[in-house]
């Protein structure tokens, strides 16, 4: 008797690919994908249920399909894809609350895996070099994605207290990069000219998309409870990343980068949120000791390797040129 896994947020590329990969796992019997809009790509053996996690229908889906593992990865980072900040907040926070409420009522759910992000730690000049899982943000996020995630994590912790019999795994993933990823950070690196904050060289820690898939599957199949930072080994600085990309960059004062970011957001060129500006100013590093010792997960890509793989998808011509020369 294998597991029945419910995956939320399947319409997005990363959710769809995770669900598809999960069907290949021998310990997983069925994978059910849930989202408001159907996924665009091939979902293989995944059964898709069109449901909105913002209303109680989700509880019926869980009860009807005898779901024992819920993987929640529909927390979206950018208002652009959802159609506005209001909708984004509703999808993220209300959706997560409904999903948790449904899980709490369910008698079958044994495991809950929530894909969170290291953005909850924030970015600031007073941050320690490496955040461990026990640390919180130095300043509470006031808006946007970081605030949503912070609130969702609060609800998840509340759920874990109320249902101690359910193994709750919170994966705080570092910024995910890879050839298929479209996130604020990857869109930033795909800009023809990269704006940088003058006088700051933030440390970046990256996670390859394949490693994100693997860690979510690892958490869903092993059911080790706890909160874990997941990131590739090592850090790289923004200047290093830009130089490796070979893209021209321009250093602007912080306020100018912020202004440029909001202009680009309005023009729908790139989502440049305030927390992203903080990240690109001060950077962030997370400690991944617990990922190794407790979760027992080893990422395949280091930060530098993940970035190199991403770079090949951005500037193939540069790579070829270097190969020929």
């Amino acid at each position: 008797m294998g597991r029945v896994v419910l995956v939320t947020g399947i319409s997005r590329d990363i959710g769809r690919r995770f669900a598809r990969a999960a069907t290949g796992d021998p310990s997983i019997d069925r994978v059910i994908g849930v989202d408001v809009v159907p996924p665009r790509g091939d979902i293989g053996d995944v059964s898709f249920v069109r449901a909105d996690i913002r209303n109680p229908v989700i509880a019926k889906v869980i009860a009807k399909e005898d779901v024992d593992t819920v993987v929640h990865m529909s927390v979206i980072a950018t208002p652009g894809s959802a159609g506005g900040r209001g909708t984004m907040k509703e999808l993220n926070v209300i959706g997560s609350m409904q999903l948790l409420a449904a899980c709490q009522r369910s008698a079958t759910v044994e495991r809950l895996v929530v894909k969170s992000t290291t953005t909850v730690y924030g970015s600031g000049p007073r941050d320690p070099a490496m955040f461990t899982e026990d640390m919180g943000p130095k300043r509470l996020p006031s808006s946007g994605y970081a605030k949503d995630v912070y609130e969702i994590e609060g609800y998840v912790r509340g759920f874990a207290r109320r249902r101690p019999d359910v193994d709750v795994t919170l994966i705080r993933a570092a910024n995910v990069v890879g050839p298929h990823v479209s996130s604020p950070l990857t869109n930033y690196f795909r800009l023809p000219v990269i704006p940088r904050v003058l006088g700051f060289d933030p440390r970046l820690q990256l996670l390859h998309e394949d490693d994100l898939m693997r860690v979510l599957r690892h958490a869903a199949t092993t059911g080790i409870a706890g909160t874990f930072n997941v990131a590739g080994d090592g850090v790289m600085t923004l200047s290093q990343a830009v130089r490796r990309l070979g893209t021209p960059s321009v250093a602007l004062p912080r306020f100018a980068v912020g202004r440029l970011g909001s202009t680009m957001r309005q023009a729908r060129v790139s989502d440049f949120s305030p927390e992203q500006l903080g990240f690109l100013t001060y950077g962030r590093g997370v400690d991944t000791t617990r990922m190794r010792t407790v979760l027992g997960f080893e990422p395949q890509f280091t930060t530098a390797e993940a970035f190199a793989d991403f770079r090949r998808s951005v500037t193939p011509s540069v790579e070829e040129g270097a190969g020929r020369a």
């Binding site: 000049p125 007073r126 941050d127 320690p128 070099a129 490496m130 461990t132 640390m135 904050v197 003058l198 006088g199 700051f200 060289d201 440390r203 090592g234 850090v235 790289m236 600085t237 200047s239 290093q240 990343a241 830009v242 130089r243 490796r244 004062p253 912080r254 001060y282 950077g283 590093g285 400690d287």
Partner: protein, 392 residues
């Protein structure tokens, strides 16, 4: 020559030729030097040998002029001999330096800059530049760029330390060759140059990198924050300090903080309060030795005589320094005074005898903090007595 030697012996003075190389005349164009110039001449032989040459040189234009007038009249036979020699004499210094000479000069310059194995060194430099431009280098978890620090920061600081401040280092044997240790130092000098000098000293003499812990202001300021991270600094907080110490790094702290570097010149070499003793609890928890470091000399580089608190508050910095030279002399006022520096590393204070749990005992923490503070203060007084004068 013998005449000159005799004169030297007799008058006990050295004749230093200036300008014309000791030859009489001031290049005024007249064939005959002035009487004053003739008296200056060291020997009559030199003067006589110089005379005909000058006469010849001044003759040439005269001849030319005559030749010109001659050409105008039509008889040019006299001019055929003289102009070519004049032209030849004028040409070589300006043009026609052979390529081989240029190459030799470049080679000599390279040798001068890079030393005997200049070809390898120059190639290394090129490779370094290429790596920097392509981002092909490593940084550690704190953003420490080892290559840049060694090849650039240290190289830039070394002449300042050796030539300007004439650093004298004592007690080097107290720096452990490996393993975690906490260097605790006094702080002074308006601008934390003492921290940079300590980093350089530890690198050059002990072969290790000192990882400084900086105030959060350091990481708030543009440029400074990027340089600090690349140079190996991190934020002075318990988490980072304990992480670095348990990794076996040599960590430097300046517990006086802004109270230390921003104190007025009248309070020089009086240690300020040592914060809450957070550095002691970090050392106790990780069981690493504390090495007290006393720095003499940094107090005098920018004597702080005043402060503009209102402007400082407006800019969000702890103080705006007023020194006898800054801001009155503008950028020139930023040149530190060349005081004589002495750095003394004291005997390590061991903490591994305590239980890690004892780090929570405030009484013990205060006692160890006081011990470190007293050690540094007494060493400062001893060093001041040893140092002859401020600039000595």
């Amino acid at each position: 020559m013998p005449e000159e030697a005799r004169r030297r012996d007799g008058e006990d003075a050295v004749v230093i030729p200036i300008g014309t190389g000791g030859r009489p005349g001031r290049g005024s164009g007249s064939a005959r030097p002035s009487s004053a110039a003739r008296n200056l001449a060291p020997s009559s032989r030199k003067a006589s040998s110089a005379k005909p040459r000058r006469a010849g040189a001044t003759d040439a234009p005269g001849k030319k002029a005559r030749a010109g007038s001659g050409r105008a009249t039509g008889s040019a036979d006299e001019t055929v001999v003289t102009p070519p020699t004049g032209g030849e004499a004028a040409k070589p210094p300006t043009t026609g330096i052979p390529v081989a000479d240029w190459l030799a000069a470049a080679q000599g310059a390279a040798q001068e800059v890079f030393g005997a194995d200049w070809e390898r060194r120059a190639a290394e430099l090129m490779a370094f530049c290429r790596r920097r431009l392509e981002g092909d280098y490593e940084v550690d978890d704190y953003g420490f760029d080892r290559e840049l620090t060694e090849r650039f920061f240290m190289a830039a600081l070394r002449p300042i330390a050796e030539k300007w401040f004439r650093l004298e280092v004592r007690g080097l044997e107290n720096i452990p060759a490996e393993g975690g240790a906490l260097v605790v130092s006094n702080h002074s000098g308006t601008i934390p140059l003492d921290g940079l000098m300590t980093m350089l000293t530890v690198h050059d003499h002990a072969g290790r990198f000192l990882r400084p812990l900086g105030a959060d202001l350091v990481f708030k300021l543009p440029v400074v924050s990027a340089l600090a991270r690349a140079g190996g600094a991190t934020l002075a907080c318990t988490e980072d300090a304990e992480r670095m110490l348990s990794e076996g790094q040599l960590v430097g702290v300046w517990p006086e903080g802004f109270k230390g570097i921003g104190k007025p010149f009248s309070e020089r070499y009086k240690l300020q309060r040592f914060g809450r003793g957070g550095f002691v609890s970090a050392a106790l928890r990780t069981g690493v030795p504390i090495i007290p470091l006393s720095v003499v000399g940094a107090e005098e580089i920018y004597p702080l005589v005043g402060n503009v608190p209102s402007l400082a508050r407006l800019l969000g910095v702890p103080y705006i320094p007023i020194t006898p030279f800054f801001p009155w002399l503008g950028p020139l006022g930023l040149v530190p005074l060349p005081s004589k520096w002495i750095l003394e590393f004291g005997e390590p204070i061991r903490t591994d005898a305590y239980e890690p749990g004892e780090a929570e005992d405030p009484m013990l923490v205060f006692n160890v903090t006081d011990q470190v503070r007293e050690t540094i203060q007494h060493t400062l007084f001893d060093l001041l007595r040893d140092r002859g004068g401020v600039f000595g």
